[in-house]
């Protein structure tokens, strides 16, 4: 009996009227965990019941504690008929199982009903007493910390980075079970919510076990997704990076780097040591998989075709990104080469040398090769036995093996910034995985060489080292131009670099960056089964190729040479495929200046055509000049010849855009104002191309004062104020015209994204100067002729003047700005960041804004005595970033992973689809905030809306929506406050934990 869960139901408020006759409610509460249920007394005739119940105690296994949520149901007592349910609250008690996270859950939580939404709030207290359990064969993994954050969490230090952990669990979807025909939508929704809660818990527990097995104590970059496969079931899968973290107890000044001599735990030999034979970018059959996996399994009916085979068809594939061959090893002497080999072999022994991290401890990331990605199209089949999820496992294994071999082809032993996703339409499913091939230092790896040898790897300077090519110059798997690094002049760098990671903080960047998107729509014929899967497989390479070309063109148009945070999303519908690639473009100082874009006509005889082309060329050149000015890109001029690097031959030019086999000799005669040597050539051979170029140029420009990126931070902007605004915006667009060409569709899709961005800028105009960070677009085709685009991002204000103040001054300044700047509409920082109802949430030294009590007596003086009666609601910040500007995260309280379904049968009455979704998203935010506040937190970092599935049936006046959100609940303190009370923080933390245990 290793754990005791205790819950107390205190009170309710704002309950709905359940008895029309009396306009009141006779409410009581059921508290359920596992199969045990307790009830409170009925509190008659009140909308604000005070139950003040006893402590309900559940004695349970810690395995159950991890899997099950605490389920609280509020009901209206009815003497004569069945009791009516008012709503439910699911409480994830996982944060209470970890000593460093929260110790109590206490506060007002919204009572949620899948049909009516939020119906009042309930005040609860939940605690867990865990008993020490020394059973080595336990099934639970209590104590393993989970973080959504894809970097080492702010108040921890990495002792060891163990590597990739993954798991998936499958089940039947309750919505598709036979029983669903006879039960109410509410019952069905609740069954689904509960199931996903359980599956998430189980998944997390299983991943935790793997982490313990590896000797770690935490999962960083935990990414959990669910696939609604319809008839064939429900898959919940997760990936993450296992680490050993240590809490930084003192202030960072004393932080030292951990030594590698960690206690040698007997660690399970990862993988089977077997390596896929190097099939660099091979086409044809999928990479052979481990026999064990297949042998025990019934013949899979699934149809599979690897899209990777596209590689050979095209000279340059997006998959391998823009890496280019590196000969760093040669110059650095044999010792270093040996070292690298050691690290490499150590990593190669791992089954998947993957890391979900996008930012790294200093010195960890050595070189970056480029983006690696793989997709495969599968036909879904009913999952016959939920306990044997091998089919899905095998699918992902195939993909991961492919990724691994791509990385190897780039001379890399690891993949960082790794993520996986799916897109499902009917029975077709596209599985995608992508990451950045990289070479890592063994510093944080258990099986790396000894610490003493590290200095040999330190010769690379941090500002440009990661740009140096990791592959062999003479054996480049694709055509690329290499030059000597523009920073250190010692190593070779590629001309362009694409990555899925965040811009390393130490990277040398010229100017500012910006969001770059490639958008593509391709029609496809309606088809069934294998035919459909084949059609999609055949389309995929072209889609990826064009997305890549668009990205490249847009990057050049902005005068930049590298992409970070690249996410390519491909969404499948019945009659079309959507591709959206988002990344943040920057100018890396280490890389050569990008050449311009040069366009050329196919039939140069026509004079007017020539004219047209030169006009267009002029426009392009003007745009590049303008962009360089806008993004402050003015790299120092370098004299190429000094280095003596081989200047690339003109024939090596990468000709990407609809290039034909015939050579274009006339190109060299054109005057290129940009790019002395390697202009990017666009050949216009048909109207499509003209349209494409036109679209390229008509990309809407960002209004003054705004910047945007999809990474954590924007290069060139440091002095953030504390004003932040996280938001979610969703648009659904109906294509009424069935006969659209690809071009027409492209335009519509592109306009949809552009207009959405325009609206965002307008909405947030009061925050200028401001940057929209972590702009995360997700596209979907909810049904035929519908395109859905959802964006979650955070707008952050910054101070215009580039002051070189130290942290203290800027901290104070931001606070002052936030308070005085009345024009900012919504970003005033409140000091009421802590809830007065929660003893945990008030670390010492934080100013609390208490509601002023009502004046006593009856003073006639009529002075202002507006009081916000009762306890004012604590402010909870939300951000998709891993940090809060001007603040320090002092504690991580646990992961927030919530799944909600909302359904309505009175769509019109709820304000139509927009009204319905607006309310639902607001409710989801409210529930996230309330749960964070109940844990004692005042912010959610690394927040993301991973799923927003919206379905409507306006004719029936119905709609349904599923939303899955996640993030890390934290306590932060303003830096300015930290300094004021710099003596106290340590005592504050101990105090908070003490008082938590004491209650």
């Amino acid at each position: 009996m290793p754990g005791k869960l205790k819950a107390k139901i205190v009170a309710g408020r704002h309950l709905p009227v359940m008895d029309r006759a009396s306009d009141l409610t006779d409410a009581f509460v059921e508290v359920k965990f596992g199969n045990t249920t307790f009830k409170t007394d009925v509190y008659p005739k009140s909308l604000n019941p005070q139950w003040n119940s006893e402590w309900f105690k559940f004695e349970v296994d810690d395995e159950d504690l991890q899997d099950e949520p605490l389920q609280i149901t509020v009901l209206d007592h009815d003497t004569y008929s069945a009791n009516d349910a008012i709503g439910k609250v699911y409480i994830d008690i996982d944060p209470l199982l970890c000593s460093e996270a929260a110790t109590v859950i206490s506060g007002w939580l919204p009572i949620y009903d899948t049909i009516h939404g939020i119906r009042g709030e309930i005040n609860v207290l939940v605690k867990v007493d865990l008993f020490n359990d020394l059973n080595r064969f336990r099934q639970s993994s209590c104590g393993v910390k989970f973080f959504c954050t894809t970097s080492i969490p702010r108040c921890y230090r990495a002792i060891m980075v163990h590597g990739f952990v993954e798991e998936l669990v499958v089940n039947e979807d309750p919505e598709y079970q036979w029983i669903d025909r006879i039960r109410t939508p509410r019952a069905s929704n609740e069954a689904r919510q509960r199931l996903i809660f359980l599956m998430s818990g189980e998944l997390q527990r299983k991943i935790g076990l793997k982490v313990l097995e590896m000797g770690g104590n935490a999962v960083v970059g935990y990414l959990q997704c669910f696939d609604l496969e319809g008839e064939s079931g429900l898959v919940v899968r997760a990936i993450g990076t296992a680490c050993t973290l240590e809490k930084i107890s003192t202030f960072p000044a004393t932080a030292t780097y951990p030594s590698n001599s960690s206690p040698s735990k007997d660690m399970k030999e990862p993988g089977f040591g077997e390596e896929t034979p190097g099939v660099p970018l091979s086409s044809g059959p999928p990479t052979p998989l481990r026999a064990q996996t297949f042998s025990s399994f019934s013949p899979s009916k699934s149809y599979s075709r690897q899209s990777s085979s596209s590689d050979t068809e095209l000279s340059l594939t997006p998959k391998t990104g823009m890496g280019s061959g590196g000969s760093a090893g040669k110059e650095a002497g044999p010792l270093k080469a040996l070292l690298r080999q050691q690290t490499q072999s150590a990593l190669e022994q791992r089954e998947y040398p993957f890391f979900t991290l996008t930012a790294f401890p200093p010195g960890f990331l050595l070189h970056v090769g480029g983006v690696v990605s793989a997709r495969s199209v599968k036909l879904l089949d009913r999952i016959h036995n939920p306990d044997e999820p091998e089919t899905r496992d095998a699918w992902w294994e195939e993909i991961r093996q492919e990724i691994k071999s791509h990385a190897k082809a780039l001379g890399c032993h690891a993949v960082v910034g790794y993520s996986e996703s799916t897109s499902i339409c009917e029975e077709v499913c596209i599985l995608s995985a992508s990451g950045t091939a990289a070479i890592l230092s063994s510093r944080f790896m258990q099986d790396g060489p000894l610490d003493a040898e590290h200095r040999f790897e330190e010769v690379v300077s941090p500002g440009c080292g990661f740009c140096h090519i990791p592959y062999d110059e003479l054996n480049i798997p694709f055509p690329a131009q290499l030059t000597y690094c523009y920073c250190c002049r010692h190593y070779k760098v590629p001309d362009v670099l694409f990555t899925t990671i965040d811009l390393p903080t130490e990277a040398n960047v010229t100017g500012k960056g910006c969001l770059i998107q490639a958008r593509l729509c391709r029609t496809k014929k309606k088809a069934q089964g294998e035919g459909n899967a084949t059609a999609i497989s055949n389309l995929l390479p072209f889609l990826e190729y064009e997305l890549h070309t668009q990205l490249m063109n847009k990057l050049k148009l902005r005068g930049m040479n590298a992409l970070f945070g690249l996410r390519i999303q491909i969404s499948v519908g019945e009659t079309m495929l959507l591709g959206l690639a988002s990344a943040t473009g920057v100018y890396l100082t280490a890389l050569p200046s990008p050449g311009g874009i040069q366009i050329t006509g196919k039939t140069p005889s026509d004079i007017t055509y020539e004219q047209h082309i030169s006009n267009m060329q002029k426009k392009i050149n003007d745009t590049i000049t303008k962009n360089k000015e806008l993004y402050e890109i003015n790299p120092p001029e370098v004299v190429e010849e000094i280095i003596g690097s081989p200047i690339p031959e003109p024939c090596q030019r990468s000709r990407l855009f609809r290039s034909h086999s015939e050579s274009s000799d006339e190109v060299s005669e054109l005057d290129l104002s940009h790019g002395k040597k390697d202009a990017f050539v666009l050949e216009i051979d048909d109207t499509d191309a003209v349209e494409d170029i036109h679209a390229l140029l008509t990309d809407f420009s960002i209004p003054a004062g705004f910047y945007s990126c999809n990474t954590e931070i924007m290069p060139g902007i440091q002095n953030w104020t504390s004003a932040i605004q996280m938001f979610t915006s969703v648009r659904v667009f109906r294509l009424n015209n069935a006969n659209l060409t690809n071009q027409g569709l492209n335009k519509i899709f592109s306009d949809l994204c552009e207009n959405l961005l325009k609206s965002l800028y307008f909405k947030l105009r009061s925050m200028v100067p401001c940057c929209l960070c972590h702009l995360n677009f997700t596209v979907a085709i909810p049904e035929d002729e519908l395109i859905q685009v959802a964006v979650t991002a955070v707008a952050m204000s910054f101070d215009k003047e580039q002051s070189l103040e130290n942290g203290k001054q800027s901290g104070e300044k931001t606070l002052i700005k936030a308070i005085t700047d009345e024009q900012l509409q919504f970003n005033l920082e409140l000091n009421a960041e802590t809830s007065s109802s929660n003893p945990l949430s008030s670390p010492k030294g934080i100013t609390m804004e208490k509601a002023s009590p009502l004046p006593e007596g009856r003073s006639r003086s009529l002075r202002s005595n507006r009081s916000y009666s009762g306890s004012s609601v604590a402010v909870v910040k939300m951000t998709p970033l891993s940090f809060i500007p001007g603040a320090k995260i002092i504690r991580y309280l646990g992961i927030i992973n919530m799944f909600f379904i909302r359904e309505t049968t009175s769509l019109r009455e709820e304000g139509g689809v927009s009204g319905f979704l607006h309310t639902f998203i607001a409710e989801v935010f409210a529930m996230v905030r309330a749960h964070v506040a109940a844990l004692g937190g005042n912010a959610v970092v690394s927040y993301s809306m991973k799923e927003c599935v919206f379905m409507e049936n306006p004719n029936k006046n119905q709609a349904q929506c599923l939303i899955n959100v996640s993030g890390d609940a934290v306590i932060f303190v303003r830096e300015s406050e930290l300094e004021l009370t710099s003596v106290q923080p340590q005592s504050a933390t101990t105090q908070t934990s003490n008082c938590g245990e004491g209650t």
């Binding site: 809407f700 605004q725 938001f727 915006s729 804004e849 009529l862 005595n865 909870v876 607001a922």
Partner: protein, 352 residues
Amino acid sequence: MSTELDVFVGNTTVLDEDVYQLWLDGHTVSNAVRIRMEAGALQECEANAEVLHSDTMDQFRTFQMCERLLQSPSKVANQLLFQIPPHRQTMLIERYYEFDSVFAREVLGKKLSKGTKKDLDDISSKTGIALKCCRRQHVFKVVEELKGPLVENIQRHFLLSDVLARDYAAIVFFANSRFETGKRKLQYLSFQDFAFCAGQLISYWTVGAVNNVMEDLDVDLEKEFLHDLKDLKVLVNDKDMLDQHKSLVCAQLRGKIKVFSEMEASFKNLSRALVNIASKLTHTKDFRDLFIDLVEKFIEPRRSDKWTIGDLRLFLKHYSSSVHTLEAFRHQVIWDRYMGVIKSCILKMYHD
């Protein structure tokens, strides 16, 4: 091709005050978009009509969702659905309950809680103000059922500012006391004039003004006080006292006011007018006519004699303070309580 769905939700609710006002004024979305365009919204942030329409729709939807909360403002502060900073909450509530003074002037003195809907419709068509005001009706309804201090009640239940709460209190007070305000002679008085007077009456003449017992709605005037006012008659009925009072006032004002001779000549009338009003207040009919009496019997004659407001102020000051030196007069407390209010009401009402 059309946008089927378009929403924007911020963790902190995004509220545009200008758009809020347009919503409060009862504009349709397309109307509001037109007004915003005319106000130059397109110049901001490279917006276009589509962006503006989307933003306006979204804002209107947000306000509509907030309205449920605004109807019981005390919930705004501890609801969880919208994260709105306190000063913005105040703005939302304050604006929501703000009313047009032209409208309020019409409403004054009408019975509010019963059958007012039709009255409001009439007033609405008369004043040309959209009937957004229905939402305020329940303020009156709720307040009339409450006990205790009126202004504080309104503040507590609706979290309104002092000024706005006092305006509401004035309306409730006037409705409760059924003061005559509609007569032609009173038309020159604005709602703010009446609101001021109501504030004075509530502060000094009601039950709640003197004792702290929250027994009843404190908008009723104190009966005992009104009864005691009859005793003031002695000031004009007792010849000696009247003369003494007159000489005291004249001694103070000689050479200080332009209308001294007129004042000296008509002192008896002046005093009689003010005292008579006091002595008749016990009768419901006369009480309702308080303002018409003040205007007809005191304010209009002074205006026709071309008294300046300064002269009037000086006169009232000394007229009321000189009584303290009348040794035979034993109702000083009542006198001060009466004159304090009357003096400030007259001064407020003394304009064109």
